[in-house]
Every structure is written in C-alpha cells, then in structure tokens.
C-alpha cells in the first residue's frame, strides 16, 4: 500500500471520528443547556456535523448519491433552526 493511500485512510478515519465527537459534545451542550437558545444552537451544530458525516461517509463508501443528501441537509437544515428561533422570539413562526 502506498503512503498516499495510507495517509488517505488515516485522514478519513480522523474525518469520520471528529464530527462524531462533535456530535457527542453538542449532545452534552444540549442536555446541560442552560437556555433554550443554547439547545437550539446545539441542534443546529448537530445538523452541520451530520452534514460532514454524510459527506465523509460518501467518500468512505465511494457513493456519489450521498452528496445529494448532503446538499439537501445543507440547503434545508437551517429551516428548522430558524423556525425554532422564531418560536422563541415571536411565538408565532408565520405571521
């Protein structure tokens, strides 16, 4: 096995574990809070971490279709955050 391929493998594993650790940290933030704002932010960060997980999984398994899932998550992931934030700010999310 060439050094490049070895390096790639290591990078892939690190890239896979880093967002996973990030997810767990976000989860901890979500549990301890203390405000709802913190929790919504934690959820939003989790969406971004999930995005990177999907991309890395795609590279790992060599499937391009996953990038479209990533596209969807990137494009629409902020909508629920916005909705939750609006709910705290205004109570009514469509007014």
């Amino acid at each position: 096995m060439t050094t490049a391929a070895e390096l790639f493998d290591i990078a892939l594993i690190v890239a896979l574990i880093a967002p996973a650790v990030g997810q767990v940290l976000c989860m901890i933030r979500l549990v301890i809070g203390p405000t709802t704002g913190d929790r919504i932010l934690a959820l939003d960060t989790m969406v971004i971490n999930a995005l990177s997980l999907v991309v890395v999984l795609g590279i790992h398994q060599g499937v391009t279709v996953y990038f479209e899932v990533a596209l969807l998550v990137a494009m629409l992931g902020f909508v629920s955050t916005v909705a939750l934030a609006r709910f705290i700010l205004r109570g009514d999310i469509i007014e």
Binding site: A50, L57, Y66, L72, L76, G91, I94, E95
Partner: protein, 956 residues
C-alpha cells in the same frame, strides 16, 4: 333503446334538476319530465319483443371473479314494473311541480326523485342478484332522502330514519339470502337461478335462504310485523307518498317475491310464512285504516292491507294466485296513486288532512270528488271498476286455500279484510266529500289547477276502462303472469271476466260491501271503543329496540374504544406482543445462520446519541419545546442511519419530513401551554410504562431474531429488483415501487393525504367562524416578544435561496425514476421553499403572491395521477399500466419519457398542496388582532422611507 340507457338515463338525468335550480321551477320539472319520458319511450320500444315472449338482455362483465356482472334482462314482469315506475313517475313529476310550494327546493326534490326512479328501474331490470342488491340499497337510500325531504319537520326526519333502519336491516338480511342462493346454484345470474328450482328446494340451506330473502321483501313491502314504518313515512310530501308508498318502492318486495316465485314458492314453508304474513297484514292494516283520521294515514294503512293481499296471493303458490296478484298490482297502483294524489289535493287546498275537520267538499271540489270517489269505490270492490275484478279473483283464490288444515280460516279472514277495506273506502268518501258544507275549514277549498288534477284523472280513466273492458289489458296481464310463473305451474284460466256467475266469491264480495256500509253507519261508537282499547304503539317499541341495541353496542365498544389514545396504544401493543409470543412459542424456530457483525466507533456514537435523545425525550416530555428539539435529534440521527445503511431515498424523505413536522408542531405549540400537566395517577403511569417497556423489548427480540436468520420465504424485493428496469423502466427500485408496482396504493394514499389536509382546513375554518374566533383574535402573548417581525437578513436569504431550492426540487423530481428522489421528496422540498417565504416575509405578503389556491393544487395532483391511470384504458390495458420510451432531441442526450413520471407529477402536486394547505390553515388560526398586517416583506426597509426612492417610484 338499450336497457343500459333505460337504467342509466334517470341516474345521469338526476344531475340536471339540481343544476337547473336557478333556472326556475318549471325548468326543473320540465327537464325531469323529459328525462323520464325518454326512459319511458325507450322502454316502450322493447314492448313488441316482450309481448312476443322474448327476453331482452344486455350484459357487461363488471367483476366476473366475484360473480358480479352488470347484466340486465327485460321480461314480462320486469317490463310491467318498469312501466309502472316510469309511467306513474311521469304523472308524479307533473303533480309534484304544482304541489311543491315556492319555499321548497325543487331541484333537490327532483334530483332525489330521479335517483330513486333509476334505482327502482335498476331493481326490476337486473339479471344479476348482486346488482339487484346494489339497486335495492339505492332505493332505501334515495327513499330516505325523499321521506326526509322536509328537513325542518321532526316527523319527516324520524320517519325517514325509521324507514331506512327497517328496510336497511331487511336489505342486509337479503344479502345473506341471495348469497346462499348463489352458492347453491353456483351463479349469481337470475336467469340461471330461475332454472334451478329443484336444486334450490332440495338444498338444506333452502329454508335459511328463504327466510332471509323474505325478511328483505317483508320489510320493504311493509308486511306484518314490519308494517309500522310505512305510516310514519307519510311525513313525506304527498307526491313522494303517492310514488314510493303506493305504486313503486313498497312493491319492490312484492316484485322480488314474484321474481323468485318460480324457484322459492310451492313448498310448505313458503306457503305458511308468506300466506299467513299476508293474511295478517291484510286484516290488520284494514282494521287500523278504518280508525285513522289523517287521510294519508288512512291510505297508508290501506296500502299495508293491499300489500298484504298481494303477498297472500303470491303465498298460495298457485298459478291463479300469481295471476290475481299481478292483476291486483296493476289495479292497486292505479287507484292508490290516484287516491294519494287526491288526498294531497285536499290537503293542499283545505290546509288540513284531518278527516274530522273535513266533509261537504263535494260541492266545493267537484273534480277532486269525482276522481277520489271513483278510485275509492274501485278500492272498495264495486263492480265495473278495476278493483272489483282483482278482488273477486283474490276471494276466489282464498276460497280454495287451506291454511293450517282449516277450510274456513283463509276465506273468512279474506272476507273480513275486504269488509273493513270497503268500510274505510266508504268512510274516505263519506267523511271527506259528502255531508253538509262546513264553514270552519282552515282554508276555503276549491278545485286546483289542471296540473294537479290531471295526473290522478288519467289514472282514474284507467281504473274505469280496465273495470269496464278488462279484455283490453287481458293479453298483457296474462303475459306478465306467465313470466312470473315460468315453468313452475300451469295457468288454466283463459279470460278475465266481470261476471263469473253466482260463485262463492260473489257472495263474499256482497257480504264485504254490505258489512262495510254497516260499519260506516256505526262508525262513531266503534271509534270510541277503538280509542279506549289499549294497543301497542309501534313507534315506541321500535325506538326502545333501537335504544337497546345502541346501548348494547356501546357497552361492547366503550371498554375498548373510549377515545383515549393511550388506551388504543396499550391494547394494540399487548395484542401484538401476545400474538408474537404465541407465534414464537408454537411455530418452528430455525437455528441462527448469520454471524453478528462488529460495529465501529462512529455508528456506536450515533446509536448512543439516538438512545440518549430518546431517553431524554421520555424524561423531559412534559417540557414541550425541549421535547421538540429532542425529536429533531432523533430524526437527524435516523436520517444519518439511513445514509449509513445505504438508503439515501429514505434519508432524504426522513430529513425533509422532519423539517416540515417541526414547523407544523411549532405552529400548533403556539396555542398550547409550554408544559404538559400531570393528569394520570402514579399506578396508571407505572402500568403504561410496563406496557411500553414490554413493547420495546418485544420489538428488539423480533429484530434480533431476524437479524440472525434468513427470511422465511423469498422476499418480494427479489422480484422488484429483477423487474424494476425491465417492467417499470426505472433503475430506482424505490420509486418504481411507488409509481408502478404499487401505483394504485400510492394513488389511494395521495387521495387520503389530500382529504387529511382538507379536513385540517375545514376544522380551522370552523374554529375561525365560531365563538373561538374572538378569543383567538384577542390572545395576549405570555412572554415578551421580539420587536422585529420580519428580519431583513432572513428575508434576503430566503429570497436568494428560493430559486436554488426550486431547482433542486426540479432536479430531484426529474431524475427520481432512475436515481434516488421522486415526486414525494420533490414535493416536500418545494413546500419547504414556500414555507420559508411564509416565515421570513410574512403571511400577508406571501398569500398576496399566491396564484393557485392549495385546494386546487391537491385536486390537480389527484386528477393528474388519476388521468394518467385512466390513460392506459385507451390502449386497452388495466388502470395505471405504465409505459416508457427513449427519445432524443438534439442537442440533449438521449433521455427517457415514462408515464410513471406523469403519475409522479400528480404525487408531487398532491404533496405540495397538502403540506401547504395544512401549514397555512394553522398559521391562519394564529392571526391576532394586535399584529399589524404588513404588505411589505420587511418591517424595516431603508429604501421605503427614503424620500428619493419614493419620488422615483412616483415618477415611474
């Protein structure tokens, strides 16, 4: 004219009067008359063939595997009844036009009437018993609508309900009877059943089938002990009573007995049940009729009595009895419809039908008097009128009938029935028209216009013509009787004669008429006696039975089905665990064949978070917003799980659904308190917890079990994978399953989705129009609100991203057939794009830019999908057969065009419409009085207040 047209015309025509309502009352009646006339003429074109003894048929296979075919047949009996239904229908339509007042909705009335007419013609022309049952139920339903036509009258509503309950129950019994009959013969075609007299009568199931079918006939034709609904149905408008309750619907039971006569009659069971029911009904109805003061009630009971007479004649099982029955059906239809119409005229002109307030109308209403008297005298059995002829035949038949070993029973009862019959006829004439003119009528009576008296007059002309010259209809009546009898018996009589000589029937007739005169003379004391005698009140008994049945059903259902969701869930979970355990404990369990795989750290982290989020959700479920955030995590983790397990389709769907769900729940949460209160007791929560844990463990056990073993049978996925490209033209199996393999399911699902969205819309609309509206409008927020309703950054961002999202939606939709995606996901993506605009720029701004209402979008989706399915009929393929081809338009690459894509477009539209309609309905509910409704997208817009910009705009 084809039989299909004769049956279909009234049904299709039924649409017209309802639509013509605004064109005026005459237009409504006119179009109804035209439709009936066309059907009538169409029927008459078949007369030569029928008179020649042929049977006209028409056949289309509907559901041949079930034995349900749309086959029609026209023989003498069917022709006779269809003639009555359509012919009297024409008279009733004319009469009804003048009877109904300006306040009545005429279009509605005639629509119901035509529906009924079509159903009735359908019954008498059906050649398939299952088809006949369909029409049978249709008459019950349409007569329900007609009886309850005056919705503001409680009697009308109660009468309609009672009629529907009784006839509906009978219909249900008949379904059973017909199915048994079909099983015995092996065919549901009447023409086949009628050929199998011996096989049916020898079968051990003959008696149950007979009883069930007779239940249907007796309830429909108001035979004792089900006679009670007919008088209560008299709350209907008089044209309905004249049509349904004298000439047609109540004769449906009689028709069926006549239709089944060749195969069912002639056995001791048939003879005893039918003859005695008919006999009792005849006497009872006649006795009660004599003491009724309401003209229509009197006629109703007299109808009951005459139906009993016909039933008794059919019950005797002899050819002469059948002949007399047929003849009496004809005669009764003519004189009774005329009588009902006359009673309606009296009611219409004098504003009362109470016989005690009438009398002396002879001079005030001479035309009505002539019509009513002739008809009533015919009913009483006076010579030279048609009622006399058939009544003589009935008495003649009764004279030869031996019931329960007694030679006297039937003749005496028949004479008694005729005697009371004559008495109430004389009372009808005497107490309404004869006697001195009074000065206390509720309204000064006079003869109505020709439109009202003409229809009964035509019938009375028939009464007299048949009475004087029976030979005119003789051939026809014999032809009909022969088609009733079939090969089951031989008809010996050759003529219908007015004078039979001094036979016993004549003496019985004389006794009846003289006795009737005596009874009318002594009516006043008899009435007093009648009123002091205690009698069971049918309505009270009926209601007690209904009440009891309802209570029993409640007691049975309530412990299981009390409206509490936790209870359903608990019962469901326990049942599933028990069934699963039973299967595992009694079935064969194969040995595990697969190895457990090792999980990496990343999946374990994901799994741990999923578990943590779920546990957190259970622990914190009382804090509603927090639990929503946790649900978001669960959804996210499940989506990633789908990606990890190579199901990108599911991941995309899961993710978009998650976004829409959170928005919907937040909209709802706006009206709810932040915390769920504790409502149930501790033991109850422990119990629910135990059930939940057990359910979870069972699911785990099942999953674990199957992970270690091969599937029990070959999974269907093999088939799908093999045929997806070959048969469906797509490489994305998930999408091909949705739009092709299980396209019909999907079609049903988008309809359900649309209905659910419309329901949400209807519910919020009701709330907004009700008393809740004020409370909703004046809500005060429970916590301080941020000042910026529509932040500029959000507005700009969502505007910019909108076309991008739409493009992605289009892309996902277009390639859905071959790669992950499709109409459902694309629909969700586009909905989210629109919801973003709602959230950022506000409800008012977005609604103002909406070009198509969401209802229409849903409808368009269902229609597009439906028409795609129907399209395959044009190439003689079953519904929703898909096809595909490859085309090449330079400079593009070769690409595929599939009908499935069109179907998918329907799915797409339905999803967009349904999602948007439900979200929009919820947010409409949240409008408050104190929110300024801005038509600008942003609350703070620097350019708007800038004087230069304003000038520029004015300049433009």
């Amino acid at each position: 004219m084809s039989l299909f047209l004769v049956v279909a015309l009234p049904f299709f025509g039924a649409l017209l009067p309802g639509m013509m309502n605004s064109a005026g009352r005459s237009a409504c009646a006119g179009v109804t008359f035209t439709v009936s006339l066309m059907a009538f003429v169409g029927l008459l074109t078949n007369l030569p063939a029928v008179m020649a003894g042929e049977v006209v048929t028409a056949r289309v296979d509907w559901m041949p595997l079930l034995g349900l075919n749309f086959t029609l047949m026209l023989d003498g009996l069917g022709f006779f009844f269809a003639l009555l239904i359509l012919g009297i229908g024409l008279l009733i339509i004319t009469y009804g036009r003048h009877y109904l007042s300006r306040n009545d909705n005429m279009g509605e009335f005639f629509t119901y009437l035509l529906l009924f007419q079509g159903a009735m013609v359908g019954i008498v022309l059906s050649d398939n018993v299952l088809l006949l049952l369909v029409f049978w139920e249709l008459t019950s339903l349409s007569s329900f609508l007609l009886i309850g036509y005056w919705k503001h009258l409680p009697e009308g509503r109660q009468g309609a309900r009672m009629a529907l309950a009784v006839t509906g129950m009978g219909g249900l019994a008949m379904v059973g009877g017909m199915l048994i009959l079909g099983q015995i013969v092996g065919s549901y075609d009447l023409s086949v059943i009628l050929q199998n007299r011996e096989a049916i009568q020898a079968d051990p199931l003959y008696v149950p089938a007979l009883v069930l079918i007779l239940l249907g006939c007796f309830t429909k034709s108001a035979q004792f002990p089900f006679h009670f609904w007919l008088p209560h149905a008299m709350a209907a408008p008089t044209p309905v009573s004249a049509y349904l309750h004298s000439a047609t619907m109540v004769k449906a039971g009689i028709f069926l007995m006549a239709r089944m006569w060749p195969v069912l009659s002639g056995t001791p069971e048939w003879f005893v049940i039918v003859t005695s029911a008919g006999l009792v009904t005849m006497v009872l109805g006649a006795v009660i009729a004599l003491f009724k003061h309401d003209l229509k009630a009197l006629l109703a009971f007299s109808t009951v009595s005459h139906l009993g007479l016909i039933t008794m004649l059919l019950g005797t099982g002899t050819a002469f009895g059948a002949l007399a029955a047929v003849f009496h059906i004809l005669n009764h239809a003519t004189f009774k419809a005329a009588l009902f119409m006359s009673a309606g005229i009296v009611d219409h002109e004098a504003h009362t039908r109470d016989i005690r307030r009438l009398g002396g109308l002879r001079r005030l209403m001479p035309i009505t008097f002539a019509i009513a008297s002739l008809a009533a005298l015919s009913m009483a059995g006076i010579p030279l009128l048609n009622g006399f002829l058939s009544k003589e035949m009935m008495l003649e038949e009764a004279h030869h009938t031996v019931l329960f070993g007694s030679h006297w029973l039937v003749p005496v009862m028949a004479t008694l029935g005729s005697l009371f019959s004559a008495a109430y006829c004389f009372r009808f004439i005497g107490h309404t028209f004869l006697g001195p003119v009074r000065d206390d009528y509720p309204h000064k009576p006079h003869d109505p216009g020709a439109g009202m008296w003409m229809p009964p007059a035509i019938l009375v002309v028939l009464v007299v013509v048949i009475g004087v010259a029976p030979f005119l209809v003789q051939d026809f009546v014999f032809m009909v009787a022969k088609s009733v009898i079939g090969d089951a018996a031989e008809l010996k009589t050759k003529y219908i004669k007015i004078w039979h000589g001094l036979v016993p029937a004549l003496y019985m007739s004389i006794i009846a008429v003289v006795g009737g005169l005596v009874l009318v003379r002594t009516h006043a004391p008899l009435q007093k006696l009648w009123e002091t005698t205690p009698r069971p009140e049918a309505k009270v008994i009926f209601e007690a039975i209904v009440e009891g049945a309802a209570r029993m059903a409640q007691a049975l259902i309530h412990p299981l089905h009390n409206g509490s969701f936790t209870r359903y869930a608990m019962i469901g979970v326990i049942a599933m665990i028990a069934a699963g355990y039973h299967a595992w404990a009694t079935g064969t369990v194969a040995a595990p064949v697969r190895e457990l795989q090792v999980a990496g750290p990343v999946p374990i982290a994901g799994w741990a978070m999923l578990v943590a989020a779920t546990v957190g959700l259970v622990a914190m479920h009382r804090h509603r917003l927090l639990s929503l955030i946790l649900i978001g995590i669960v959804g996210l983790m499940v989506s990633i799980g789908f990606v990890y397990l190579s199901a990108p389709d599911l991941a995309m769907t899961q993710f978009t659904v998650e976004v829409v769900t959170i928005i919907l729940l937040l909209l709802a949460l706006n009206f709810l308190p932040n915390r769920t209160p504790v409502e149930s007791t501790v033991p109850r929560r422990i119990r629910d917890g135990v059930v939940a844990v057990a359910g979870g463990l069972a699911t785990f056990g099942l999953a674990y079990h199957y992970m270690l073993r091969e599937a029990v049978t070959t999974p269907i996925s093999e088939f799908h994978l093999a045929n997806s490209y070959k048969g469906g033209g797509g490489t994305n199996v998930v999408n091909v399953i949705l739009v092709d393999f299980r396209g019909f399911d999907t079609y049903g699902e988008i309809i359900v989705l649309g209905i659910a969205a419309l329901l949400i819309f209807a519910l919020t609309e009701t709330l907004l129009n009700g008393p809740v509206r004020r409370r909703l409008l004046n809500r005060v927020p429970d916590q301080p609100r941020s000042g910026d309703m529509h932040p500029m950054m959000m507005v700009v961002l969502t505007r910019v991203i909108m076309p991008v999202v739409l493009l992605v939606g289009f892309y996902i939709f277009m390639r859905g057939h071959n790669e992950p995606g499709g109409g459902f996901i694309a629909g969700l993506i586009v909905s989210i794009a629109v919801v973003m605009q709602y959230m950022a720029s506000g409800f008012t701004w977005t609604s103002a830019r909406l070009r198509y209402p969401y209802h229409g979008v849903i409808g368009a989706g269902v229609l597009v999908a439906g028409f795609t399915g129907i399209g395959s009929w044009f190439v003689a393929k079953p519904f929703l057969t898909s096809d595909f081809t490859y085309v090449r338009i330079p400079p593009f690459h070769k690409f595929e065009l599939a009908t499935a894509a069109l179907f998918d477009l329907g799915v797409f539209l339905a999803v967009v419409g349904a999602v948007m309609l439900s979200l929009e309905s919820f947010s409409r509910l949240a409008r408050r009085a104190d929110t300024p409704e801005s038509e600008y997208p942003m609350d703070i817009d620097p350019s708007r207040d800038d004087p230069d910009t304003a000038k520029m705009k004015e300049g433009v």
